[in-house]
Structure formats: C-alpha cells, structure tokens
C-alpha cells in the first residue's frame, strides 16, 4: 500500500458521486473550451480573408445584387488585375436541414483569384467544360457521400425548381480555416435558371484582385465614388474587412454567448467544488485517526489536495479531450459556416489552468481545515 492507495480508496468511497463530480467538471471544461474556440474563431475569421482581394457589394446590403454590367468598368479600374463575381443561390439538398453554402461563380476568374481552392487539373478542365458542372468542397462530398461524376439535384428556395448539376470536381482547402463545404457552379448556368424569374444579369458581389494591397483602400474609395449616384451604389472593402463585417453580425450574439456560457461554467464549477469540499469534510474523523497515527498537517493537506487534483485532472482530460476530439480530430465546423474551429494550445492551457484552480479552490478549504484541526477536537467527530 502507498499513499496513492488511500487517495484511490477515497475516490472509490462514493463512486457515483466521484463520477458525477468528474463528469460535471468535464462538461464545464468542455463548455468553456467550446465557447472559447467558437469565439476565437469568430474573432479570427478575418485572418482567412486576403488583403489583396476586394469585395464590391451593394451598399444597401449583400442581399441586394449588382448589375453584371459593372464588370467591364471594374476591370478597367486602375490597380485591379482580375475581376470575378458570385451570387448566392441558397438551394437545399433533399432536406431543408441539409443547409450548405452554394453559389454561382464566374469559374475561371474565380479560380484565378482563389488559389486556396485546390483541384486537380483534370477535374478543373472537366468542370470548366460542363455548363451544368459543379465543383464541390471535399468535406461536403464526404457529408453527403457524393462522388465525382455523380448527378445531384438541388431544390431552389430563392429560385424555385429542381436544379440538376453534374459533380465534376472536388476541391481541397489550400490553407487551414478555408471552407471545404461549398458547392460552386457556373454563373452562366445560374443566369439560365434566374432568367425564368427575371433575376438574370446580376451578380451578388464582385471579387477584385488588386496588385498592391497597400493601395486597396484608395481603389475601394475610387470604385465606390464612381457608383455613388447610380441606381445600385456600391460598397467596396478588403475581403478581410468583409469577413469581419460579416462576423460583426454575430457581435451581440458573441457577447451573450460569452456571458451566459461563462455563467453556466462558473455555476457547474461551484457545484463541483462544493461536492468535493463536502466529501472531504465528511472525513474529519478519519483525519483525526491519521493524525493520531502520526500523520502531520502537511501529510493530511497533501492527501486532500491530491484527491481534489485527481478529480479535477480527470475532468480536464475528459472535457479537454472531448473538445479536441470534436474540433481538432472530428473537424466539427457548424456545417461549414465557421470553418477552422480548432482548440488552440493557448485555450488548452487556460483550460488546464482552470482545472488547477478548481483543484486548489475545492481542495484548499477542506485541506486547510483538516490540517488545522486539532487532533483532540477532531477526535470528537469520531463519537
């Protein structure tokens, strides 16, 4: 027998309570890590956006399109080397819950502007050659079990009808955090679909490649000035700013998530800490016996703190391990809306710090009480 035997035996004393305490801590730490990961990703999603790409959208909002006729003038804008455009399609696959990003793009120019979209030459050529072809993110392919060459039918929500596409290629992300769940198809096919409802001849937004990122603000200002008095005034910003503005929509949600989540985590932590403290308090009589046998205050303090540390450590392993499994290995990304959900070493470190804090907070008081308890007084608990 060692001192570890005493700690293990004490943890098994009320096994159900120990398990529930560990699970409570694990849930709290998992929630904390998830929350921090989610908020950190929202805050850093702008990093995925490039400084050398500008996005021109309708000044009234992204749901209002811009005429396709703008393309020619944007192409002639000084400092812009490539112009592409895209339009949100908003179709669903079989079930409204199967929601994913699908939009029409001007294929060649779009691929030229997005080297992050990595696709083999053969598939690229096959897609470019097929009017109804689609280029699909590899994770979306996995999600629906699609394969290249397959024909899929999407149901329109903005543009009613059943729309058939041939999957000609699957792309991978060339950088971490770049989305791999989008469904891209040719804008010319979109125009055919939209023509029925009179929605053709427009683009949701333009993507402009600029040669000198430092000049991007001046170029954006110049573009917006030239359309200021038109029927569809524009708003041009770097892709990074565009993404951040998009994230900005979540601003208040983020705040509430943070506040409510942290409150829940704190409440669970308090309950767990109290349970651990209660468990130690119940054993004052045994502390008296140990002290009678010659265990010092420090010995007793160590035993109680070790027990609290083991419980908190198990909670950390389960909670943090679960989060790593879900985000880092399982690649959970909220259906592609927030790609790059990854538990960073910093977040893991903070979680470990919290577990240590719980161990100290829950163990310190009973450990201190046990250590300070006079043997003669403590023996009275025996009777």
């Amino acid at each position: 027998m060692t001192r570890g035997t005493i700690v293990r035996a004490n943890l098994r004393r009320r096994l159900r309570r120990t398990i529930l305490t560990v699970l409570g801590l694990a849930v709290a730490i998992f929630l904390f890590v998830t929350l921090r990961t989610f908020l950190r990703t929202l805050q850093t999603v702008g990093d995925v956006g490039s400084e050398s790409r500008l996005i021109t959208s309708n000044k009234l909002g992204i749901v209002f399109p811009l005429p396709l006729a703008y393309r020619a003038r944007l192409t002639s804008q000084e400092g812009v080397h490539t112009v592409s455009y895209a339009t949100w399609f908003g179709a669903i696959y079989q079930d409204p819950r199967n929601f994913f990003a699908n939009f029409a793009i001007d294929a060649e120019s779009y691929l030229a502007l997005y080297p992050e979209i990595v696709v083999s030459d053969a598939q690229r050529q096959a897609w470019l050659a097929d009017r109804t072809g689609a280029l699909v993110g590899s994770r979306l392919m996995e999600q629906f079990g699609w394969s290249v060459g397959q024909t899929v039918t999407l149901t329109g929500t903005i543009f009613p009808g059943e729309h058939t596409f041939n999957i000609r290629g699957a792309y991978e992300a060339g950088m971490r955090g770049f989305d791999e769940r989008s469904f891209l198809f040719h804008h010319r096919y979109f125009d055919e679909i939209a023509r029925i409802s009179g929605g053709d001849g427009v683009a949701g937004w333009y993507v402009l490649g600029v040669s000198d990122p430092e000049r991007a603000p001046a170029i954006a200002q110049s573009i917006d000035a030239s359309y200021e008095n038109s029927a569809a005034p524009t708003r041009t910003q770097t892709e990074k700013a565009f993404n951040l503005a998009f994230v900005g929509l979540y601003g208040n949600i983020g705040f509430f998530l943070n506040a409510i989540g942290l409150a829940v985590v704190f409440a669970i932590l308090m309950v767990s800490a109290n349970t651990m403290a209660m468990s130690a308090r119940e054993r004052f009589s045994e502390v008296a016996v140990l002290k009678t046998l010659g265990f010092t205050d420090t010995d007793v303090l160590r035993l109680v703190l070790t027990e609290a540390a083991v419980v908190a450590g198990l909670g950390l392993v389960l909670g943090l391990g679960g989060a790593l499994l879900v985000f880092n290995l399982g690649s959970f990304d909220l259906g592609g809306f927030i790609p790059g959900l990854v538990v960073t070493p910093q977040i893991a470190l903070v979680a470990a710090g919290i577990a240590l804090l719980i161990a100290l907070a829950s163990g310190a008081v009973p450990a201190w009480q046990s250590a300070r308890l006079k043997v003669v007084d403590a023996l009275r608990y025996v009777a």
């Binding site: 027998m1 060692t2 001192r3 035997t5 005493i6 035996a9 004490n10 098994r12 004393r13 009589s285 045994e286 008296a288 016996v289 140990l290 002290k291 009678t292 046998l293 010659g294 265990f295 010092t296 205050d297 420090t298 010995d299 006079k374 043997v375 003669v376 023996l379 025996v382 009777a383």
Partner: protein
Amino acid sequence: MTPLVDVQGVTKVYQRDSQQLTVLQALDLTIAEGEYLALMGPSGSGKTTLLNLLAGLDTPTDGSIRVAGEEISRMKPKQLAAWRSRHVGFIFQLYNLIPVLTAVQNVELPLLLTPLKKKERRDHAETALRIVGLEERMDHYPRQLSGGQEQRVGIARAIVTDPTLILADEPTGDLDASSAAEILDLLTRLNTEFGKTIVMVTHDPHAAEQAGRTLHLEKGALLEQRIREGHGAALASAGSDAVQEREP
C-alpha cells in the same frame, strides 16, 4: 531506575467561552516500562485528557511529561506527530478503522510514516495481524468484520510499529462481553508475552482488574490506586512510584 513515563505537576485547563475549566490539577504520575495501567473514574474526571496528553495529542497547560527520556510537553505539533508515529500505539473505543481500506491496509497505515519498503510494510502488517489472530481476514473490509475483529485490527494497527507505549481509550466499551474478554486477553498477552507498556482508560472494573495497577481519577486528581497482588516488587524494580503509595 528511570520510569518510562514521568508526569510531573501536570495541569490542563480548557477555555470554554469565557470560562476556564480545569480538567487536570497538578498531577504526578510515573509508569514503569512493561507496566499495564488502568485509569478509571467518572465521566469528566480527566481520564481521556490524561491519555491524550500521554499520547502527545494535546499539550499540558502546566507541568512536564517525559516519555522514554523525551520531554514531549514542549514539542511543536510537527515534532509531536513524528514522535507519536515512533512511540505511541493508540487503540480507540470505536476502532476507527478507515472503512475504504482492508484490514491489512489499515494496519499498514502507520508504517507509511516509516522508511520501510513496500514489501517490508506488508510483511510487518501481516505479522501484526497474525499476532491478533486475524491472518484469515487480512483482505476483509471493516464492514465485513465483527466488532471484536475490528478492535483486533485496531490493536494490530497500534502494535505494528512496535511502539514504546500502547494507549487504549475504553477498548472494550463498544463490545459484547465475549468479545471484550478476547480483547482484554489480547492486551494482557501483549503486556506479558511482548512486554508492552499499556495504559488503558476504562469504566469497566472487570477490565481494570486485568491491569497490574489501577488509578482512579476524580475532578482531575488521582485519588487512589490498586496494585494487583504480586505486582508491587516488579513495579518498584521497574521504576514506578506505585509502591510508595497505599490503597486507602
């Protein structure tokens, strides 16, 4: 010859709110090595307080206590803890075994404070359990043992470190007559066969009869003592002051 335990002018005063309660009053006592002493007296007479002082679980308000030449009344808590682990084996009325540890693990507990290796600790614990006749129940948990068996595990725990002094606080107080007799026989055996010095607090005159000497405490003072026949000469040669006093 120097007695094993030498208590001189010990007073113990407890503070209860604003009142001072004198539990022991200028008490003198010597105990010879190998002596078996019973302490009797009504509740509140100071028996357990005296036992706690001898065990180094508490310190006197005044006076001195020397055990095997060491002045324990001046020791700091940490020193006292270390001293207890080497010199005292304590037997409780309610056994006080750790319920989540087996019999052998309970006996091994005090050995965790010694430099013995794991295997040596286990061997010592098994030997102690054999002495108290419980080698068949080593891996049983306290809830799987009878009261008498639990107390025997408690005694094995008290002797496993081969302490200088065994202190028993009403060791038969929670047992039926048959189990109590077994425990008293065991204590007598430890005293006679192994030469252990035992101080036992008891309310039971029959239990006290097993001891070589019985002291009566009342209101914190030693009132009388009884020396079992044939014990006086042995005590005198062992350094006890018992023979200098008379039974009233």
